[in-house]
Symmetry: C2
Subunit: 410 residues, 2 copies
Amino acid sequence: MANQRVYVLGGAQTDFARNWSKEGKHISAMIREAAAGGLEATGIEAKEVQVGHVGNFAAELYSMQGHLGAFLVEVDPAFSGLPTARHEAACASGSIALLAASAEIEAGRYELAMVVGVEQMKTVDPKTGGDYLGTAAWYENEAKGIEFPFPKLFGKLGDEYDKRFGLKDEHLARISAINYGNAKRNPLAQTRNWYMTEDHAKATGKFNTVIGGRIKVSDCSQVTDGAASAFLASERFAAQYAERRGMKLERIPRILGWGHRTAPLEFAAKIQASEGQPYVLPHTRQAIVDAFRRAGLKDVWDVAGIETHDCFTTSEYMAIDHFGLTRPGESWKAIEEGVIDMGGKMPINPSGGLIGAGHPVGATGVRQVLDAWKQVSGRAGDFQVENARRFATLNIGGSGTTSCAFIVGC
Amino acid sequence: MANQRVYVLGGAQTDFARNWSKEGKHISAMIREAAAGGLEATGIEAKEVQVGHVGNFAAELYSMQGHLGAFLVEVDPAFSGLPTARHEAACASGSIALLAASAEIEAGRYELAMVVGVEQMKTVDPKTGGDYLGTAAWYENEAKGIEFPFPKLFGKLGDEYDKRFGLKDEHLARISAINYGNAKRNPLAQTRNWYMTEDHAKATGKFNTVIGGRIKVSDCSQVTDGAASAFLASERFAAQYAERRGMKLERIPRILGWGHRTAPLEFAAKIQASEGQPYVLPHTRQAIVDAFRRAGLKDVWDVAGIETHDCFTTSEYMAIDHFGLTRPGESWKAIEEGVIDMGGKMPINPSGGLIGAGHPVGATGVRQVLDAWKQVSGRAGDFQVENARRFATLNIGGSGTTSCAFIVGC
């Protein structure tokens, strides 16, 4: 039996440069803005939405608030009674919410789902925030009592590449510079007005301090307040939607494929398990391969670009070979040859990614799919990849623990 | 297009009388025991499981741990790579996980899903725990600085019944006594060896103190450590499973119907919205009606019993008329006439419910469906309802905010 197709009708993103705590605003205001903004951007009426899903990592800690799905109901009187839920897999929470929403559409339960990814992170100081992020790892074993555990874990990912294949920090600096550079063309990117050059990223010292291991400030994604929405529809709803907008249904992007895999939680266990294998994170590789297989695509060159999870430069370095842009361990070649630049053969993170655009944890997976939708709809403005027909995303929770990939396109 | 049917193959529950903190055990041990115990109970091999879902409310607060889905991977080497996720809607988290898992099976994504509901609550003192539970409500508006906010909110539910229809506390005491009584026959119930009679529940004073409003100790569900698992399967997997066990497929219970609705988050907003309507919590009523409609059943008398969400006696009082056992406001009649007793026309909570069996928040929805499965499979032992063919559940998050209902049967 063939599944229902799942169409993406667009959505909205908050300005990731905003600090909602300084504005005196509750996390519910972020949910409201992403949901209401998405209705406005898509021209969907609130009464047409049949189910709501929220992706969020740890509002219990950052905002002393659970039950976030219910806040969708507060957005519009027409939402009273709307079935809602919140979904979590650390930094992959947004993708997990999209998977839950798309499963319900594939199953024929609902015709139109609203998905909001959200995280308010500036409620606490950076050290406390770093501790909270440690709950995405095995907290007691890998994070408790460790200052900024995640930069250290992803530093070890770089160390593992170094050990297996060799790794030069200048390639990580280039990844950082590309993301910061791309972010300057994204009007919703957190760092769009920040100063960060490749020379700056290469340097170590007062203006680019080491956070942990080989990870410096320039290698890190941002602490971000933000939310993003995406509206997913059945073929029946999408056909009506296309008709009333005078569009052809074939022009509305779909989720062409997806992948979802979970590796052992502890970083050391992952590395031990992949010893002697071609890929450092084989389950992340598998999630990508699954997405391309489900989309019926041959390989990465069948997409026009990638929005990937550069929580640190090392995770983007990993994504380059795991997507198949190079052979395992040779990500540096794609960096040196300009493959991943805007205008390159396979632009990565035209939005600026997590380093440039920002990383409101639970929002990231939704923001990636929304940006992929913008690309394949020709609506990405100054960060548009020309003639993009299909785009891929990769969203990672923990130290490569939960990996989710989507292919969005027509 | 007809959806795939979703079969329930059974599962396992931890002993809700255990205190895992006193045993020095991490929440991962509870997940392991429910998952591994479920494999053993069902005779399913780990390698047959294709996806894992966790229902959990607030491990970030109780256990300083997020990303719970990933802990499923730790249970068995065969689970390496298993797609996993965690789902949350406060005390309805277990049902939300079941809904996510069943949607994926209906969609044809997977053939066999493992669902584990879990909460470790005895990591903190009762007052801190009460504060954490406040994040299931709108924390800043309804819970911050309030000692034990939830008993007070559900006290107000009783007050609203009193105002609209009249309510005698002796009927709430009877609900308490029935649940404690039923729990004595459930070998996994937290209170199976506790002392609580109807006279005791009726009394107020030193041995039954007031917690908030009209809610006394005897009206409250328990603070519980516990986990429960349920295995959901497609028709294809269920048919193979039946064959290798020498059973007929028609004898394997299914999820016949489900309902899922969300009301405005704040209790005052709910009550204001239902003013002048027959039901005090119309969205909870709707979730129940939706479940029966999807199951193709006429009314509540088409099921043999109910496992309902008695977080407080007032919520069970509400469930009685909302399920349609009586006309709105007349729940007391069903109590007085013995309808809800074991051996009555519509036994409620043969397991002892949340008051008697215990209420490990994120586990409750899964425990209810597992107990419903036990009933319709004739495996409920000393708390078996005779000739039960279909059973209903109702699981509620917040102050009647998220309502989920299931009908399990053949």
